[in-house]
């Protein structure tokens, strides 16, 4: 008998089309199953239905049979017999799932006491044991910490400990690593796999990222608009997907080998943008007297050639967004210089010349948030022109809006709409249209595709590539996602805690990384191929706080190759054949 058998599950909310439509699947004891789909496909609703956590106005029909008993629609007291003891769930955002006012240890103890899992004298030791099991360092101290004192990865470990404390037979993990950095994601996925081996727990892993499932699940369920389109062993789905939608998802995930067409670089050509030893820092609030500063970007130099895409890669806190905001002048740079098309670029955006503002535009991460909710699409697209050439625009406003919409692949019918009526992908196209209408020489994309689903992301990247080929636009592409980097950039700048680790050709970066951090990032990257899987990076740990960056090389506490000199001397950027690396051991190491 299967551990969990979902049959004919329907979920709908009054007055709208069904969210889940006749969904049926099973999970055997100890099996790992991946539930994959784009946002809005009903993955989380399925998880909530299994746990009995659907909102009150949801109507669920069908059967959720756990170990022979139908628990769909069962009363709370019955469900509580199953929750924690027999099945548990880990949510995406560990911060909002933990009670911010309760110490970590007490949160675990409460679960044990509430469910009467162990005797009173064992509560403490069992909680500590669980925290040790999930690999929390310095357990005794963390036990008494509050959730905000832990990093994101540590919080997710605590959540996993809390979910596994009752030794359940089924663990549901709903996007458990989406909110985490790649190196941390790799560690959490490794932990889940390792725990599954030791505790023999069945796993339902819910994700939008095929790379996460590839190395972790034996079987995959593909959801599309609330319907199960395919259910097959992982390898079969990757090698021969049957359903066209699955096929599209797999090709989108595997597209990471696609490279942009080679850049013809003439030696004498003047770079579009030159940045020399740029530094950005923030005053730390509340410490005005001690004048403490947070250095977001230190000693950063780079150039961008016409028609070139430079990707800036780093995890959260690496300073990549500060770099972007300093270039466009939304925040001040403390030191260094920037030259745009031969003219110095100084000060905040308000004080810059109109010409430099035209040449330098930006696309933001949140597509809907970067459009004024009170303006119509046509007014948003045309606003740059109403500011820069007010006389000309009055004549042919309509035609220019239509032309811009067409250029970014949107229908003219959208022009009278408001931003909240658009999907994420459409809104990002509008944002790109607004940036391109001034014919900039350089476009900075700050995580411009991070909030979008797989296939939409492909389309937006394609649009940017086309624009670049047609108009010779330079791009600075800021992202945390190496797969995206590979698709769009000619060169890559890897940042860590505000410093440049490596600046390299895209191809040589992926083939022959020279900096240990680059290597770690590449290893942590989930690859959508079940035969490669995921490298466990348990020894890597997590990034230290930006407030107290380590002395010497900022990466040395996490670096497996560090020697005593790394903790004392800041490494300079050294030039190699295809790459520049800031590492003392760059010449000798073969990564």
């Amino acid at each position: 008998m299967s551990l969990l058998k979902v049959s004919g599950l329907n979920i709908n909310y009054p007055g709208s089309p069904p969210v889940i439509n006749r969904l049926s699947f099973t999970i055997e004891k100890g099996e790992a199953v991946g539930l994959v789909g784009e946002s809005g496909s009903g993955k989380t609703q399925t998880a909530l239905a299994i746990m009995g956590l659907l909102p009150r106005n949801a109507c669920a029909a069908g059967e959720v049979v756990f170990d022979g008993v139908n628990i769909l629609g069962a009363p709370e007291c019955t469900l509580n017999q199953y929750r924690t003891r027999r099945m548990s769930i880990v949510f995406q955002d560990p911060m909002s799932a933990l009670n911010p006012y309760v110490r970590i240890g007490d949160q675990l103890k409460r679960i044990l006491i509430e469910h009467e899992l162990v005797g009173e004298d064992e509560v403490e030791s069992r909680s500590l044991e669980m925290l040790q099991l999930v690999g929390l360092p310095d357990v005794e101290r963390q036990y008494r910490s509050y959730p905000h004192q832990l990093s994101g990865g540590m919080r997710q470990r605590v959540m996993i400990a809390a979910a596994l404390i009752g030794r359940p037979e089924l663990l549901i993990a709903d996007e458990p690593t989406t909110a985490l950095d790649v190196t941390v994601q790799a560690q959490i996925l490794g932990l889940l796999r390792q725990l599954r081996d030791t505790l023999d727990t069945a796993l339902l892993l819910i994700t939008h990222d095929l790379g996460v499932v590839a190395g972790n699940c034996e079987r995959m369920l593909v959801l599309k608009d609330g319907e199960l389109v395919e259910s097959a062993p992982t390898r079969q789905i990757f090698t021969s997907p049957a359903h066209p939608d699955t096929k599209a998802m797999v090709t989108a995930a595997k597209r990471s080998d696609l490279l942009p067409c080679a850049l013809k670089r003439s030696a004498d050509e003047r770079p579009t943008l030159e940045i020399d030893s740029l530094a950005v820092s923030y005053a730390v609030p509340g410490e005005r007297r001690s004048r403490r500063k947070l250095d977001a970007v230190r000693q950063l130099s780079m150039t961008v050639a016409p028609g070139e895409t430079v990707a800036v890669v780093g995890e959260s806190g690496s300073g990549k967004t500060s770099l972007a905001r300093a270039i466009v002048g939304l925040i001040p740079a403390q030191a260094g210089s920037m030259v745009l098309l031969g003219k110095p670029l100084k000060g905040l955006v308000e004080s810059r010349s109109n010409a430099s503002r035209r040449d330098l535009q930006m696309v933001f991460q949140d597509p809907v948030g970067s459009l004024n909710p009170a303006m119509r699409i046509e007014d948003i697209i045309i606003e740059p022109l109403t500011v820069h050439e007010p006389d000309r625009i009055k004549v042919n406003k309509k035609e220019r809006v239509a032309a811009m919409l067409q250029r970014v692949g949107l229908s003219e019918a959208l022009s009278r709409r408001y931003p909240h009526e658009l999907s994420g992908g459409q809104a990002q196209r509008v944002a790109i249209a607004r940036a391109l209408v001034l014919k900039p020489k350089i476009l900075i994309c700050d995580e411009a595709v991070a909030a979008l689903d797989g296939s939409v992301r492909e389309d937006i990247l394609e649009l940017l590539r086309t624009e670049q080929q047609q108009s010779g636009l330079s791009l600075i592409f800021i992202t945390h996602d190496l797969a995206t980097v590979r698709q769009i950039s000619h060169r890559v700048l890897v940042m860590y805690l505000g410093r440049v680790c490596e600046l390299s050709d895209t191809e040589s970066l992926f083939m022959r990384p020279k900096h240990p951090y680059t290597k770690a990032l590449l290893d942590a990257m989930p690859i959508a191929d079940p035969d490669i899987g995921i490298v466990v990076l348990s020894e890597l740990g997590e990034a230290p706080s930006m407030m107290r960056p380590p002395a010497g090389c900022v990466f040395h506490p996490r670096c497996t190759y560090s020697v005593s000199r790394c903790g004392e001397v800041v490494p300079e950027l050294q030039d190699f054949e295809m790459t520049s690396v800031a590492c003392h051991r760059a010449a000798e190491l073969d990564l």
């Binding site: 909102p55 535009q361 500011v387």
Partner: protein
């Protein structure tokens, strides 16, 4: 947000906006009637009739609400009082809208030292005991119709400025404001084209909630005899007159007081209803 929540929100909004529709309708009806009414009535608000003092409400001589202690028709006077009271409401809202929103948006957007300076000025004005100030003004200058509006407006825009400033500070951190800066939109245009339209929900709600406050201040001043001067009148002044005749002619108190209560309740309901419609946090219900 799932589709089901959208549906449930729309239905609750419709139920709530019924309160908005009804109270708004009543207010409009009162306003229309207060303007047209005096023309329909055969009586004037000025004509005194010593033979018909303190007459009970009657249809006979068309003294619908009776007469007051000077024999003036109370129907016309109540409608006149309603006019003044609603005028106070309009002036208060226009003053707090124009001054409060502009002041708050500029302070919030510019920030830094200018913001601190502008907000300390607001604090200083807050510290003044306004009622006493108004009483002093009334005593020092001619008792002036305009002065009351100025005084009431002066109280009301302070709260509005603070609220708008707070909203502006959170709005200016949104990415669409950054995007506008990068395009080269000048600051004044960002304030009026990008920030202010997004403040609309909060502003409308807040105005409907401050109007009753303004009406009450006016009534209070008139009740003290410092507000509208005879033969002009307001609902507050009529209530004041009614109190002294409470035993002989209770309608002199009850009718204007009742109308005042209805107007205040309608504005309060309208404000509550609008707040629920505009507040995005209601989504989670």
């Amino acid at each position: 947000m799932s589709a089901g929540i959208v549906v449930s929100r729309v239905t609750t909004e419709m139920r709530r906006s019924r309160a908005v529709t009804i109270s708004g309708g009543i207010l409009i009806a009162i306003a229309v009637f207060a303007i047209i009414g005096p023309f329909i009535s055969p009586h004037s608000y000025l004509t005194t009739d010593f033979d018909g003092r303190l007459a009970e409400p009657t249809l006979e001589s068309f003294h619908l609400f009776g007469t007051d202690d000077l024999g003036r028709d109370l129907f016309v006077r109540t409608l006149l009082g309603g006019q003044v009271t609603l005028l106070v409401a309009i002036v208060a809202s226009v003053v707090s809208l124009v001054i409060g929103v502009a002041y708050g948006a500029v302070a919030g957007y510019v920030g830094g030292r200018i913001d601190a300076l502008m907000m300390r000025a607001v604090d200083a004005l807050y510290a003044l005991p306004f009622i006493f100030l108004v009483i002093l003004l009334m005593v020092a200058f001619e008792r002036n119709f305009l002065l009351i509006f100025v005084a009431i407006g002066a109280i009301n825009w302070l709260d509005m400025a603070r609220i708008v400033r707070g909203q502006t500070i959170s709005l200016k951190q949104r990415e669409f404001v950054d995007a506008a800066k990068l395009i080269g939109v000048p600051s004044w245009r960002i304030i009026f084209r990008h920030i202010t339209p997004n403040l609309l929900g909060v502003v409308i709600v807040y105005i409907t909630l401050t109007i009753p406050q303004a009406i009450l201040v006016e009534s209070f001043l008139s009740f003290l005899g410092l507000g509208i001067q005879e033969p002009q009148t307001s609902l507050g002044a009529l209530v004041n007159g009614g109190v002294s005749q409470m035993e002989q002619a209770p309608w002199m108190l009850l009718i204007p007081a009742g109308l005042l209560a209805v107007i205040l309740l309608c504005f309060n309901f309208l404000g509550d209803g609008l707040r629920d419609v505009f507040d995005p946090r209601q989504e989670s219900r």
